[in-house]
C-alpha cells in the first residue's frame, strides 16, 4: 500500500463546474433532437461543425500556450452547440464555424477561457455573424414546405419570413401558436421549439446546473415591456406571446443568460442583470438594426454586470469594513 499526501478537504461536493457544463451540453443536445427527427442529418452536421471548430480552436490555443488542453470542462461543447442552435438550419456550414471560431478565439481565450471571459462567448459569436453576414444569419427556410436539406452541401430553399422579422415590420405573424411551441415556424435552429426549451430549462434548474432567477427576471422584464409597448396592434397578451416565442429570446434567456462566468455574484445582482438583459433585448428588437436582439442585449448586460455586482456589494454593506481583531 503506497500512500500519498494531499491537502484537505478530502471530501467534496458532487456538483462540479464540469458537471454543470456537462448538464448544459446535454440539454443543448436534447434541443437538437426535434430538428434531427424532422430534417435529417443536417442539424447534426451544423452542430458537429461548430463544436469541432471550438474544439480545434481550444486545442490550438492550448498548443500555443503549451499547456494541457482544458477539454474536460466541456465549455467548448456548450459554446459550439449554442452557436449552432442560434443560426438558421439553412445557413452555409462555414457560418457556424466562423461564429464558433470567433467565440473561442476572440471572446474567450484572450481573457483566459472558460470562467474568465467577460462576455458570453456564444452571444459574441452570434453578434459577429449577424454584423458580418446579416443575410446568411437572418434568412430562414420555410418549414411548411417539404425540402430535402443536404447534410453538408449548401441547400436551395424557399425563404420565409420569421415571426421576429414580421414583428419588426409591425405585422402580425400568420403562424399558429402551436407551431411556435413545436418549432415548425421559421427561425433559428434551437430557438423555435418553445416546449422543448421549457423542458430543458426545467431540467437544468431542477438538477441545479443553472439558477432560475436570471432566466425568470429576463423573461419577466421582456414580457412586461412586450405587454406595455406592443409592436403590433393587438392585445397585450398576444404581444407577449409572440415576442417571447419568436426569435432567439427564449433560447438566450434559458441557456446564455444564466452563464455563471458573467452573471453577478449575488441573487439580487442576478435578478437585476436578468431584468436589464430582458429590457435591453426588447429595446434592441424595437430600435435595433436586426430582428434578433437578445445576443446583443446579453453583450450589453455582460458589460454592465460588474457594475451591478459592485453596486450590490456596496448596498449590502460588504465594502468599507476595517480590520477587526477577534
Amino acid at each position: 500500500m503506497r500512500l500519498h499526501s494531499a491537502p484537505p478537504p478530502f471530501v467534496r461536493t458532487e456538483a462540479t463546474a464540469g458537471s454543470m457544463l456537462g448538464a448544459t451540453a446535454a440539454a443543448l443536445c436534447a434541443l437538437l433532437v426535434p430538428p434531427i427527427v424532422r430534417y435529417g442529418a443536417r442539424p447534426l452536421a451544423m452542430a458537429g461543425a461548430s463544436v469541432l471548430t471550438c474544439l480545434l480552436c481550444e486545442a490550438l490555443v492550448s498548443l500555443a500556450r503549451s499547456r494541457r488542453p482544458a477539454l474536460a470542462g466541456a465549455s467548448f461543447a456548450v459554446t459550439g452547440l449554442s452557436v449552432a442552435l442560434l443560426l438558421p438550419l439553412n445557413a452555409p456550414l462555414w457560418l457556424p464555424c466562423a461564429a464558433a471560431a470567433f467565440a473561442v478565439l476572440a471572446a474567450g481565450e484572450p481573457f483566459g477561457g472558460f470562467g474568465r471571459a467577460p462576455f458570453t462567448p456564444a452571444a459574441a459569436g452570434i453578434a459577429f455573424a449577424a454584423l458580418c453576414w446579416p443575410e446568411q444569419t437572418f434568412t430562414y427556410f420555410d418549414p411548411a414546405q417539404p425540402y430535402a436539406l443536404p447534410p453538408l452541401a449548401d441547400c436551395a430553399f424557399h425563404a420565409a419570413r420569421s415571426p421576429a422579422a414580421l414583428l419588426r415590420d409591425g405585422l402580425k405573424p400568420d403562424i399558429l401558436p402551436l407551431d411556435l411551441l413545436w418549432g415548425t415556424a421559421p427561425g433559428p435552429l434551437g430557438g423555435t421549439a418553445a416546449l422543448v426549451l421549457g423542458a430543458c430549462a426545467l431540467a437544468l434548474f431542477l438538477c441545479r446546473a443553472a439558477r432560475p432567477e436570471t432566466t425568470l427576471c429576463f423573461l419577466l422584464a421582456a414580457a412586461a415591456l412586450a405587454a406595455l409597448f406592443p409592436r403590433i396592434a393587438c392585445s397585450p397578451l398576444t404581444s407577449v406571446k409572440y415576442e417571447l416565442l419568436s426569435g432567439s429570446l427564449l433560447f438566450c434567456a434559458v441557456f446564455l443568460a444564466p452563464d455563471p462566468a458573467v452573471s453577478p455574484y449575488t441573487a439580487a445582482g442576478r435578478c437585476l442583470y436578468g431584468a436589464f438583459a430582458g429590457a435591453a433585448a426588447m429595446a434592441f428588437r424595437r430600435y435595433g438594426a436586426f430582428e434578433q436582439g437578445a445576443p446583443f442585449a446579453l453583450l450589453l448586460a455582460d458589460a454592465v454586470s460588474p457594475l451591478i455586482s459592485s453596486a450590490v456589494c456596496r448596498l449590502k454593506g460588504w465594502e468599507g469594513k476595517p480590520y477587526e481583531a477577534s
Binding site: 476572440a106 484572450p110 481573457f111 467577460p118 446583443f296 453583450l299 454592465v304 460588474p306
Partner: protein
C-alpha cells in the same frame, strides 16, 4: 425644452454612444479608467467642453457654411474654439481656485482635446440640433464618458486575471473587450455609426 434636452442626452448615452459605437474619445476613457478616482471630474470636464464645442459649432456654422473651403476651415476653427474653451476654464480656475486647478490640471487638458468632445459639433451639425438639444447632447456625452470609464475600469481588472495569456493581459484584452462591446452597440446602429 427640458424634455428635449433630456431626450437628446438619452440619445447620446444610448444609441448614439460615441464612445463605444464610434470609438471617439476612448483613449481618454481608457486613461480615466486606469485612474478610477479621476473619472467623475473628467466626465464633468468632458461635458463642459462638449457644451462649449457644440455652442461654438452652432455659432460658427452661419459663417462657415457658405464658404467653398468649409471642409478645410471647419476643423481648424473647431480646434481654435477648443483652445479658447480650455483657456476659458483654465484661466479663471487658476486665478480663483488654484488648488483645485493644480489637482485636476492633468484631467482638464486631455478633456479639452478629447475626440468625443470634438465629435459633438459634428453630431450637432448632422442632426441639426438647437442650443437646448446640443446642451442635452453634451450632458449625455459626459454621462457616456463616465459610464464608459466605469465599465472599462472593471474590464481592465477582468483583463488582468491570472488565467489570461501573458501577451493579452491588460491593454490588448481591453481593446478586444471594447471591440466586442462596440459590437453590441453596432446592434443598435447597424452598419452605420451616425
Amino acid at each position: 425644452m427640458f424634455a428635449q434636452m433630456m431626450l437628446t442626452a438619452l440619445l447620446a448615452v444610448t444609441a448614439e454612444n460615441l464612445l463605444f459605437a464610434g470609438g471617439a474619445g476612448l483613449s481618454g476613457a481608457l486613461r480615466a479608467a486606469r485612474n478610477p478616482g479621476s473619472v467623475g471630474w473628467t466626465s464633468c470636464f468632458v461635458a463642459f467642453f462638449s457644451l462649449c464645442a457644440a455652442l461654438a459649432g452652432i455659432r460658427m456654422e452661419p459663417y462657415l457654411a457658405p464658404r467653398p473651403d468649409a471642409w478645410l476651415v471647419r476643423p481648424a476653427a473647431l480646434l481654435a474654439a477648443a483652445a479658447a474653451a480650455y483657456l476659458l476654464l483654465a484661466v479663471p480656475l487658476r486665478l480663483f481656485a488654484p488648488r483645485f486647478f493644480r489637482r485636476h490640471a492633468r484631467e482638464i487638458g486631455p478633456a479639452a482635446a478629447n475626440t468625443a468632445v470634438l465629435a459633438v459639433p459634428c453630431a450637432q451639425r448632422l442632426f441639426g440640433f438647437g442650443a437646448a438639444q446640443a446642451a442635452g447632447y453634451a450632458a449625455g456625452t459626459g454621462a457616456a464618458f463616465w459610464f464608459a470609464s466605469a465599465v472599462l475600469a472593471r474590464a481592465l481588472r477582468a483583463c488582468r486575471n491570472p488565467d489570461a495569456p501573458a501577451p493579452f493581459a491588460g491593454l490588448p484584452a481591453a481593446l478586444i473587450y471594447i471591440g466586442i462591446l462596440s459590437m453590441a452597440f453596432a446592434g443598435f446602429t447597424g452598419a452605420k455609426v451616425f
